[in-house]
């Protein structure tokens, strides 16, 4: 199956999901003359559905899904996991500890850089950005245990 056909099906499925969610939430649709809160999302979901179906139907013999390269997926998953860790830990461990740990993982484990370089890099960036934003620009950043 071609990439465009799969994309079209995906977009159409997303549109159906939005329509189902709009119906499930029982948002008032209103009328053409007086649109309710479900009107605009509904129209947009229908538009997306039409675009998805059209894309799928008009997809010619383009490159197939099998031709897509996902060789970097392990790296991408590891980076995404580090980002998820940041989102989960930011307000629990505090900014400095979270960023230090995430950078240590990315540079030391994923990129396999020397320990000393990893520690210096992670420490300097975690403390430096904290000083710049929190201390200098007065943008409050979360603190963790022991005020760290």
């Amino acid at each position: 199956m071609s990439v465009d056909r799969v994309s079209g099906i995906g977009l159409a499925a997303l549109a159906l999901l939005v329509l189902e969610e709009t119906w499930r939430q029982r948002l008032p649709l209103g009328s053409l003359a007086n649109p309710g809160p479900a009107y605009f999302p509904g129209v947009l979901a229908l538009l997306l559905l039409v675009a998805g179906v059209a894309l799928s139907a008009l997809a010619g013999a383009g490159p197939g899904v099998a031709s897509l390269s996902w060789r970097e997926w392990r790296h991408s998953v590891a980076i995404f996991a580090a980002c998820m860790f940041c989102a989960v830990a930011l307000e629990r461990l505090g900014y400095r500890l979270t960023i230090f740990a995430a950078l240590g993982f990315l540079v030391g484990v994923i990129e396999e850089k020397p320990v000393a370089a990893t520690v210096v890099f992670a420490g300097a960036l975690a403390l430096g950005t904290f000083w710049l934003f929190d201390t200098l620009l007065r943008v409050p950043l979360p603190r963790g245990p022991f005020g760290l």
Binding site: V3, V6, S7, L11, L14, V18, T22, Q25, L27, P28, S31, L32, A33, N34, P35, G36, P37, F40, P41, L44, A45, L47, L48, A51, G52, A54, L55, W70, R71, E72, W73, R74, H75, S76, A78, I79, F80, A82, C83, M84, C86, A87, L90, I99, A102, L103, L106, V107, E111, K113, F121, L125, A126, T129, F133, L137, R138, V139, P140, L141
Partner: protein
């Protein structure tokens, strides 16, 4: 004209006084810093520093706040070009070709073109502000909800029409962006939409997490693990300046971006963001080599950067001439003026000539200051590209998370950025452009509100869009674009059938 010259003389006597010059400089420096750092946009910068201006006189306060505003516009391009992180939502379009230029070793040229384009646009639009403020402000006032809706729809259609790939794909992405823009509390009825019980989503999806996710995070996910990760670039001094050809290629885009940005900037809404999108689309369409766009076309940097800076000055037109802010940033600046007992409006020029003309003159001075400040920094900034990618991408991720978190101090925004990063990564693989999604997120609340306000005004009659002449003209233009695209599509299909028929004839003979 003589009166304008005399008034400008009075303005320069105010703007060039050491104290005002000092505050303009401070504003420009802070603005550049605010623009360079992702997430901390001009609105946050101005709001944070507003209390600090309470002790100053009105002229110094407004000069400093304006310096932050256009300084942020200058600085926003830096991270877009070097790291593909839009420092400010208006810099999204600069990410595309600016980053591609940087990967080709032309980061210095891209930064210099962005700085010079911003300077030219900033200065030209100040002239526009000075000469045409009152009549333009009156014209902008004729833009009610029907006209605004027509303009926003036209903006979306122009973008889809002018995108290099399939119009269908661009429209699908715009529809997806608009759908994402409807998440949150409905402004008219208070219903929560598609929030899945997450209270923080009540305010909707922020433009910054969406833009940083779709551009910055998606880029890292796609390239960090590639078999050949981006190489370290060591720019030489001679490569820091644009070549003669690059100057030539960017001259008209800067001119067009300045005019377009100024005119769009006057109108209400997120004008500086829309101006940069429309400018990019126009440049792509007018270019002799549209295939270069997305791969490091200098016009793709010059146009949008000029447009977003020109829009900054344009936004001051209704604020100063009528006392009507055209967006959240002019609204904060209006509040700053009112705190100092100055009532903006038609009488401002007569009652406070020193403040009005001092402000105008300080914008000239500020633009020169920003150019002087930014051009030498080009050499410093491009050194970021010397950092090996295994160290550079974790640093970019940290700045993305930090910048996104800093906007609302909300982890939910970080999650939104991550989800958008994965979405952007997948969409890149499937050959979709992600810029229309960002535009959709910006425009959705504006489009919905203006549609419902228009219908409320007309008691539910859609004919209001035809009765208002500006709205009708804009919609007719949009319809013409759609028909033009359909015509091209049908003609291409007929050509294909004709070729097939000819080939069939050839085979049979």
């Amino acid at each position: 004209m003589l009166e304008v010259a005399q008034n400008l003389g009075l303005g320069f006597s105010v703007a060039l006084s050491p104290a005002v010059l000092f505050y303009a400089f401070i504003g420009c420096v802070i603005g550049t810093l605010v623009g360079v750092l992702p997430g901390v946009g001009p609105l946050a910068g101005i709001s944070l520093l507003l209390p600090a201006t309470f002790g100053m006189d009105a002229t110094r306060a407004i000069v400093m706040l304006a310096g932050i505003y256009y300084g942020a516009m200058y600085g926003g391009s830096t991270t877009s070009i070097l790291m593909r992180i839009p420092g400010e939502a208006a810099s999204v379009m600069t990410c595309i070709d600016g980053y591609a230029m940087a990967r080709k070793g032309r980061a210095g040229a891209a930064l210099a073109i962005a700085a010079v384009g911003s300077y030219v646009a900033g200065t030209a639009s100040v002239v526009g502000l000075m000469v045409m403020a009152p009549p333009l402000a009156q014209w902008a006032l004729r833009f009610g909800p029907p006209e605004q809706l027509a303009l926003l729809l036209l903006g979306l259609l122009v973008l889809a029409y002018m995108s290099s790939g399939s119009m269908l794909k661009a429209l699908a992405m715009a529809a997806l962006g608009l759908l994402l823009g409807t998440v949150g509390i409905d402004q008219m009825t208070g219903y929560m939409r598609h929030a899945y019980g997450v209270v923080e989503l009540g305010d909707g999806l922020g433009v910054v997490p969406v833009a940083v996710g779709l551009f910055g995070v998606a880029e890292i996910l796609a390239t960090a693990g590639a078999p050949t990760p981006p190489a370290v670039i060591r720019p030489r001094l001679s490569e820091l300046l644009p070549s003669r050809q690059e100057w030539r290629d960017s001259a008209w885009p800067i001119g067009r971006g300045s005019v377009l940005g100024f005119l769009i900037g006057i109108l209400p809404g997120s004008a500086h963001i829309i101006a940069s999108f429309v400018s990019y689309a126009v440049e792509k369409r007018l270019s002799r080599r549209p295939q270069d766009f997305g791969h490091g076309a200098v016009a793709g940097v010059a146009g949008p950067e000029s447009a977003n800076n020109a829009a900054t000055s344009g936004a001051f037109v209704p604020m100063l001439a009528l006392g009507v802010p055209s967006g959240p940033i002019p609204a904060v600046m209006l509040a700053a003026l009112m705190v100092h007992g100055v009532a903006p409006g038609p009488l401002l020029i007569h009652n406070q000539p020193a403040l009005f003309w001092g402000f105008i003159a300080s914008m000239y001075v500020g633009n020169v200051m920003l150019l002087i400040l930014n051009l030498p920094l080009v050499g410093l900034f491009v050194n970021i590209l010397r950092v090996p990618y295994p160290y550079l991408y974790p640093a970019i991720l940290v700045f993305s998370i930090l910048g996104v978190y800093a906007v609302n101090a909300s982890v939910v925004d970080v999650w939104i950025m991550l989800v958008m990063g994965v979405l952007g990564y997948v969409l890149r693989k499937l050959d979709f452009e992600t810029a229309p999604i960002v535009l959709g997120v910006v425009l959705a609340p504006l489009i919905e509100l203006s549609l419902r306000q228009s219908l409320a005004m007309s008691d539910g009659r859609y004919s209001i869009f035809l009765e208002h002449r500006i709205a009708a003209a804009l919609l007719a233009f949009g319809l013409a674009l759609v028909l033009l695209n359909l015509y091209t599509f049908v003609r291409r299909g007929l050509d294909w059938r004709a070729r097939l028929a000819l080939a069939g004839k050839g085979d049979s003979s």
